[in-house]
């Protein structure tokens, strides 16, 4: 179903906007209440991207920076999953973008000065469209943990940033995928902005050994749920609103 009102966001399922241990959030979080309104066509529509956008290497971060000429250094992994909505329906043909540090924990970005070296064969971005079942996959290398200036000695757990569009501007979501077993998750103030433990656990991708390939790569599974639309045949309009 691609029309209809969006289900209001459950804000307690999301991070708190202001979290003292994540220092930058203190001055960048709204302090006044958000204005809560029922969705309108402005939020229920959104950009669509076609298969013509996606190049053959776009979802292969091991090869896409070199154009296939060389391979990125690191532990080869496949990241795959499904994009669903809150009603459990697959979200087909939607754009998923990822970005990450290289195997040493260094981003290819002018503002990242960490002394782990750049990998000449690793850029760190990828994109794909989900198929008709909402399925997506990427090949990449496991990103390294990295230190960042916050408290005295903060390190980001290994993570991949994930951006998903859905079919409505109001569904727009950026999140991060963590890796099963990483002891830095419980020390990370950014992960801790998600106060609901079950919601944080859902950001941690399990090892999916059945989807790995012997002698080639390990697989991690990361399913993503976007806001759904209200399923009803009744839509009464409020008088006087």
């Amino acid at each position: 179903m691609t029309t209809g009102r969006l289900i209001p966001r459950r804000r307690d399922a999301h991070p708190v906007p202001r979290y003292a241990d994540y220092k930058t959030s203190v001055t960048r979080s709204p302090t006044l209440p958000l204005l809560s309104l029922e969705s309108t066509p402005s939020e229920e529509t959104g950009p669509r991207f076609g298969h013509g956008l996606i190049g053959p290497l776009d979802n292969d971060l091991i090869r896409n920076f070199s154009g296939g000429e060389g391979l990125a250094i690191g532990e080869r992994i496949r990241v795959h999953g499904r994009v669903l909505d809150e009603n459990g329906r697959p979200v087909p043909h939607t754009l998923v973008e990822i970005w990450q540090a290289n195997a040493g924990g260094r981003y290819r970005h002018v503002k990242d000065g960490y002394f782990a070296p750049l990998d000449p064969n690793f850029g760190g971005c990828g994109r794909t469209l989900t198929d008709e079942h909402g399925v997506y996959e990427f090949m990449t290398v496991r990103p390294g943990a990295y230190p960042w200036p916050n408290r005295g000695n903060d390190w980001r757990p290994m993570h991949i940033h994930v951006s998903v569009f859905g079919h409505a501007f109001g569904q727009r979501l950026i999140t991060q995928m963590y890796f099963e077993g990483d002891p830095l998750i419980d020390r990370c103030p950014i992960a801790a902005t998600v106060r609901d433990r079950a919601q944080l656990d859902r950001l941690v991708a399990p090892l999916d050994i059945g989807a790995s390939r012997p002698m080639d790569y390990l697989a991690y599974r990361f399913d993503i749920v976007l806001r759904g639309r209200r399923q009803t045949m009744f839509e009464n309009r409020l008088e006087g609103m």
Partner: protein, 199 residues
């Protein structure tokens, strides 16, 4: 006990972080060539119907400092008030744009088509507006807001009229600085805090 509700919960957001440009606008981030061009460079193609307008501004933190790492996405209707993908919409308007704060000054620019008024579900017209979504380091869940135009008739807009106190509606109205040019600053907190939407 009761019947279980078979619904899922939305995945939790996490901050886009300081390197969002790598994933979303890699050419801007200094990774040219991975994709032919960055997504959402312009929300319209030349020849689109309507007036071209340019909006400049900055995203300001609670200390009044511009964010130099913010990325913004915009979504809007065409000049006749039709959203791309809906019947009759101008094929030269994609409606979607991605733009970033300048890494030194924090200033952003959106060059777009002035959108038309859109009809809401209740049949009432929404004044011309551009929907915005703002992400950056320190923003834990992307912020939705809207940009309206100072020189449009905003008096009966359903959203603006819900803002309390009404004076805060001014935070959503771009100020005209020259013909076709507007200024729109987004204040994350403090005096003049922008109205952000849970919509």
């Amino acid at each position: 006990m009761v019947q279980p509700l078979e619904t899922l919960t939305e995945t939790a957001s996490q901050t886009a972080g300081p390197y969002v440009h790598i994933g979303c606008i890699p050419s801007f981030a200094g990774l040219p060539g991975v994709y032919p061009e960055d997504l959402g460079l312009s929300p319209f193609s030349e020849g689109a119907a309507g007036e071209v307008v340019t909006i400049t501004g900055a995203v300001l933190d609670g200390m009044g400092a511009p964010l130099r790492d913010a990325m913004i996405e915009s979504w809007q209707a065409d000049a006749a008030g039709r959203y791309p993908g809906t019947p009759g919409a101008d094929p030269l308007v994609s409606g979607f744009c991605r733009f970033a704060a300048d890494k030194d000054t924090g200033e952003f620019t959106l060059r777009t088509i002035r959108p038309g008024a859109v009809t809401g579900h209740d049949g009432r017209a929404m004044a011309p507006h551009v929907s915005l979504w703002i992400v950056a380091r320190g923003i834990n869940i992307g912020l939705h807001t809207r940009l309206y135009f100072e020189d449009a008739d905003n008096a009966s807009d359903p959203l603006l009229s819900r803002i309390d106190p009404p004076a805060r509606a001014q935070t959503l109205i771009a100020q005209r600085t020259a013909p076709g040019a507007y200024r729109f600053d987004i204040r994350l907190q403090g005096a003049g805090e922008t109205v952000f939407l849970d919509i």
